[in-house]
């Protein structure tokens, strides 16, 4: 049984064998992975120790105290939050061995090739085609993806494509790992409201994917994708944060440091949002305690909703609080950032970037439907697309 004491011991052993001061950060991360201290709930040999997930903070605290290097979730969030749990859940042994270590260490960045111009909320309607090449057994992929964050940095992508157009849309999809260096992959920057191009359009032309890079069975892609999407929503809304962590932090600090900006009106609005942010933090904390106690609650479905709304309202108030400075912006220069940052830069950036929080990873409207239907058990709206072959749907 791997308990907290055992984890502390192993962490200290790692730190002794690979002194932080003299070890290259990447080498340290590799050693940490091999010691099973990357994500302790993962299996032995894949960065974990089959330990309870709730014990991860024990390791993190020891490492933080030692000032050990970590990986940067802002750079590899899609890998950590989405690709990894899907590879773990559906991958073959070879796939797990091949992909998880460089993913966690940060040597290989991942992106998510899901959304298409015609398939956003209705992801299952996607039109990118994957056709089996009878001779080689490879899959030949053609189509267009869009809003692909970090595609310009990615080595690998999780990709869903249509392998059978003759069955209803949810059934004809297969899940792949796509090599972003394939000559048929073309990544074009898509500039965003913030001035930057964090996301991209990705054109796939005769991209060749070996069958060994399929995740899950042919036609099972929708089921596999649910694992990715559920984890994505947790990744976006579910991080553990200290009080005044996240979006409320900068505005609270500005309020304390700049009395000249204060008005009664802004004060009341700030306090309302501060309390909401604190309650959201507590809700997240309670959810984690439920998970540890083995009673995962449906509250998780709501976390991303709350996170998106609060991020938007708080940053919006921050722009107003700053007044004259809120009318300014740091820099509109078009660039392709090397990380996804929700709370960085200035208030204007935070305000604009947070508009995406209620769209990326499933829009708030779609998530509210999920809460209404799956949590509350309310009937869904009448649907006319479920039993029709994908090829017969209107587009």
């Amino acid at each position: 049984m791997t308990d907290a004491t055992e984890l502390r011991r192993r962490t200290q052993e790692l730190l002794r064998a690979h002194p932080v001061a003299t070890t290259e950060p990447t080498d340290f991360l590799k050693a940490r992975f091999d010691a099973g201290l990357a994500w302790v709930h993962y299996p032995v040999g894949l960065g974990g120790l089959d330990a309870p997930r709730s014990l991860q903070p024990v390791v993190d605290a020891e490492l933080e105290a030692a000032d050990a290097p970590g990986n940067d979730p802002r750079k590899i969030g899609i890998g950590l939050g989405m690709a990894a749990p899907t590879v773990l859940g559906y991958g073959t042994d070879e796939q797990k061995q091949r992909f998880l270590r460089p993913l966690w260490v940060g040597e290989e960045v991942w992106c998510q090739l899901f959304s298409e111009p015609g398939a956003g909320s209705d992801l299952a309607a996607l039109a990118t085609r994957a056709v089996r090449d009878e001779d080689s057994g490879d899959w030949i992929v053609n189509g267009q993806k869009v809003w692909t964050s970090s595609a310009h940095l990615a080595r690998w992508a999780i990709l869903i494509a249509r392998t059978d157009p003759d069955v209803p849309k949810h059934r004809g999809i297969t899940y792949f790992i796509c090599d972003m260096t394939d000559p048929g992959v073309e990544v074009r920057p898509l500039r965003q409201i913030t001035g930057e191009a964090e996301f991209n359009e990705v054109f796939l032309t005769d991209v060749r994917i070996p069958d060994a890079h399929r995740l899950g069975a042919v036609g099972d892609g929708w089921k596999v994708a649910q694992t990715t999407l559920n984890n994505e929503r947790v990744a976006i809304g579910g991080a553990r944060i200290p009080r005044e962590g996240g979006m409320i932090g900068p505005i609270a600090q500005t309020w304390r440091e700049r009395p000249e900006l204060r008005t009664h009106d802004l004060h009341q609005r700030l306090l309302t949002l501060w309390v909401e942010a604190e309650v959201a933090r507590l809700t997240g904390e309670r959810l984690r305690q439920q998970l540890v106690a083995g009673h995962p609650g449906p509250e998780g479905a709501g976390m991303k909703l709350t996170f998106a709304r609060l991020n938007q309202e708080i940053s919006g108030l921050e722009v107003e609080l700053l007044g004259d400075e809120g009318l300014l912006y740091s820099d509109w220069t078009m660039r392709r950032p090397d990380l996804v940052d929700f709370t960085g830069r200035d208030a204007g950036y935070r305000y604009l970037r947070s508009k995406g929080n209620s769209i990326e990873g499933g829009t708030s409207e779609v998530l509210l439907n999920i809460v209404a239907e799956r949590v509350l058990g309310l009937p869904s709206e009448p649907r006319n697309d479920k039993d029709v072959a994908w090829k017969d749907l209107a587009r």
């Binding site: 398939a119 809003w147 500039r191 722009v319 007044g323 009318l327 078009m334 508009k355 006319n384």
Partner: protein, 370 residues
Amino acid sequence: MTDLLYTETEDDLRSAVRSLLSDRADTPSLLARIESDTPYDPQLWKSLATEMGAAGLLVPEELGGQGATHREAAVVLEELGRSVAPVPYLTSAVIATETLLDLAGESADAAELVGALAAGRTVAVLAVPLSAAPGGPVPLTGLTGRVTGVADAAAAQVLLVPTADGLYAVGTSAPGVTVDALTPLDLTRPLAAVTFDGAAGTLLADAAASEAAVRRGLLAGAGLLASEQLGLAEWCLEETVRHTRERHQFNRPVGGFQSLKHRMAQLWLEVVSARAAARNAADALATGDPETALAVAVAQAYCGKVAVHAAEECIQLHGGIGMTWEHPAHLYLKRAKSDAIALGSAGHHRDAVAELVDLRAPAKSMSPRG
């Protein structure tokens, strides 16, 4: 009785301005322009200000204007809000013009300058931060000093500078004047920092007259800004309705989902209300209604939020495309958010309402019993 409707003349003016703007301020050219060194389109300004005479709407004929009123200027601003075109209309043709009109009876220089503004020959802006509110203290600069956040200063030939000695007209290219462009959140209304270093100017009014004139300018600006916010909100709603009718997901137009329909219906309600508030302010300004200050405060306490809400909904209901640079929705969001700070925040104007209708704040905030 306040007239909250549009006259036939106003409708004609609207059509003319709209067709000009749809010719000249389409999204691709707007996007290209706002990041260039010349965010303003001088041709567009010439057509709007001079050829259509929109710059002179507030100016009596004897001073070289059209002799129209704030009601017509408000219609122009609705259209400018719909197109978020970068033209110095609010700043020059409303705020600076109104300020000068207050002085034109006493000062020949002011009268001459307002004539040049009315003809669209000259652009003048008040050298105060865009956030300056009509009821607040007039932010003073000196002919040596610095003022930041001045809207449209880069498009202006003349700055109206409120100082402790009174109001000066100072040429932007005069010695001792530096106009440095800032990076604004709203690229369609450029901001600048203006530095005066022993600049020379023409004194238009003494301190007391200057303060009254500037307040009048800002009051008209705040009142008519509501019409810009109305036009902006209206565009956002129309565009969102159009998009959600066309965009299909789940084998049906997304606008058919009741949750989206209700959101757009709610927005419509807000736009209807904003229109009443904005027309009320414009009409009060036009007729010199004794309740003008209240009409303006109500419009500003209400319309800014509607514009921001409409722009935010526009992005959300567009989905991913609404987050892109190439779709114009972001221009509307940035304008709406900046407009919410411009000429006094909603909170500021609510405070003004509190004074005007005698609904005052508690004497002092109660401290929690310990």
